[in-house]
Amino acid sequence: MTTMTMAAALNAGLRRAMERDPSVVLLGEDIGRLGGVFRVTDGLQKDFGQARVIDTPLAESAIVGAAIGLAMRGLRPVVEIQFDGFVYPAFDQIVAQLAKLHQRSSGTVRLPIVIRLPFGGGIGAVEHHSESPEAYFVHTAGLRVITPADAATAYVTMQQAIASDDPVVFLEPKRRYWDKADVDSAVDVARAPSPWQSRVVRAGTDVTVACYGPMVRTCLEAAQSHESASCEVVDLQSLSPLDTDTLIASVRRTGRLVVVHEASGTAGLGAEVAARVGEACFFELEAPVLRVTGYDIPYPPAQLEEHHLPDLDRVLDAVDRVLAF
């Protein structure tokens, strides 16, 4: 066990994957000498060389498009998009090519590509640096979407994502990059539990709180701080496929659900969760599913972000409302 930040755990996960499989290559803007603006690739170019850690031009469509070509050539590219808000120039390559080419080729072309995307707000950044675009990717068939909530998970799921033969959008909750946790770097990733499922991160009996990525810590803190109710917290983790089995089992027990994410509410992931649980737990639900999300607004200036983002109080407010129903 080593205590490390999530950024360090991701770095270690990348390193392990590169050591194990020489076909793993990294590409992105400023990932080499600089080590990425968050230093997640720090030291990797030095140790693996410029042929495996490739600094690219400033062109996101080119980066993802090139990754597709590299994969066709038998490599396993791991792409870094510098910030969430800069993934949109690559949207066509992701949605019309990366997501669809395996199907287009009747399964003959595999695209084991990971797109690393630092996402979410809460870091006081200027515009375009705090976006939560996950719903776009979850709605896009052919992609897998995953987000680790802590350093330990990050270390393992990064390696699992790279090992997957499907394209994976790997969302890194950037406000949690500096959170530390104990990471078991000796873990046998091949035997680790599947990453494509959600997990109960706190058991409880009165209400279920579903969340993922940056909101997991927030919800855990809210659960801890609730004075009377026993909150079960489910980290969805795998956003596509969205594993609602664990969640549904939880709601069948608690009868109440609050879903939390930073992204705008309308047509966000919370809607999908509410729709699925609403259908599966029709008789068990004792209150409507409540959503706590970012508002349907462009990400506001940093000094207002605390009002936009779900925080402990808003989660508790929803928990109380769902309990009072």
Binding site: A51, A59, V64, G65, A66, L70, S106
Partner: protein, 359 residues
Amino acid sequence: MSDSEPAVRLLSPDGERLADGRYDIDVSDAALRDLYRDMVLVRRLDVEGTALQRQGELALWAPCLGQEAAQIGSARCLRPTDMAFPTYRDHGVAWARGVTPLQLLGLYRGVTNGGWDPTQLHCALYSIVIGSQALHAAGYALGASLQGSSDATVAYFGDGATDEGDVNEAFVLAAGFRLPLVLFCQNNQWAISTPREGWHGAPIHRRAEGFGFPGVLVDGNDVLAVMAVTQAALDRARSGDGPTLIEAFTYRMGAHTTSDDPSRYRSADEVDAWSRRDPIRRLSAYATRIGAADESFFAEVEAEADELAQVVRAGVRQLPVPPPESMFDHVYAEPHATIAEQRAFLTAYQDSFADEGVA
């Protein structure tokens, strides 16, 4: 074609052999006959494609009529392990890479979104989103160069595609990584209804210099010239000297697709004028002139084309419609819970009709 070197040309429209100070190529009589056969067969396939669409057997067809020299000439220069990235119109390229006519028709009949195994044939699937394949080609070439291989890659795209960001970003990658890549642009003068002439400030091949690699203009209806410049570009790629942009000046003799009505935007005169520069006639005139082929050979190829047409007509009607459940087959390479669930739903749903005897 203002402001540019004259196009590389090795055959006059009447099939005379010309000298070009910059490029030349030696093609044996047998190879000439093969090129002719390729071009005639591809044209027949193409004509059948249009006819089959009219008959309702295809959902759509994008004719390559008039572009056979550009496609065959370039693709025939590739080695088996080189890689081609064609567009929806590059039937000659697909043909040269060994894609069978029926594989090729599947996409246009609507029984597949692809049709062949790109890895096996070293020919990517047709790209429909304009310009997107140029980046895949760049990535593929980057992979080849990282692996120290001598495989070259060719990206095909049209004149219109040079407007797209993706194609320009491919130029950036090509220059920056000195990729073993040939960027092969068929300037067929039209992007649906958008004419090339008059609109753009500079000829396409000059675009390359601005990115830092050479561009060359070639008469795209001259199969020998196309081969000469493509071969040179491939050699350059293999020897580590980086990319080349080739502008093959040609003409889209047919409609954009069978859904298009070109009479709305271009004159019959223009089409007429270009028909006098037909690439196949040019090659046959040359082959005849030098005694590489005679009437009996041409008749033989004609018969082969008739046979091909028949095979295509019969075969296309029998292209299997995949079962509905196949929609779920290759969405993911690995098991996926939602897909499994939806597949089960579809099966149960269909069975419910079977129960009712509705089939």
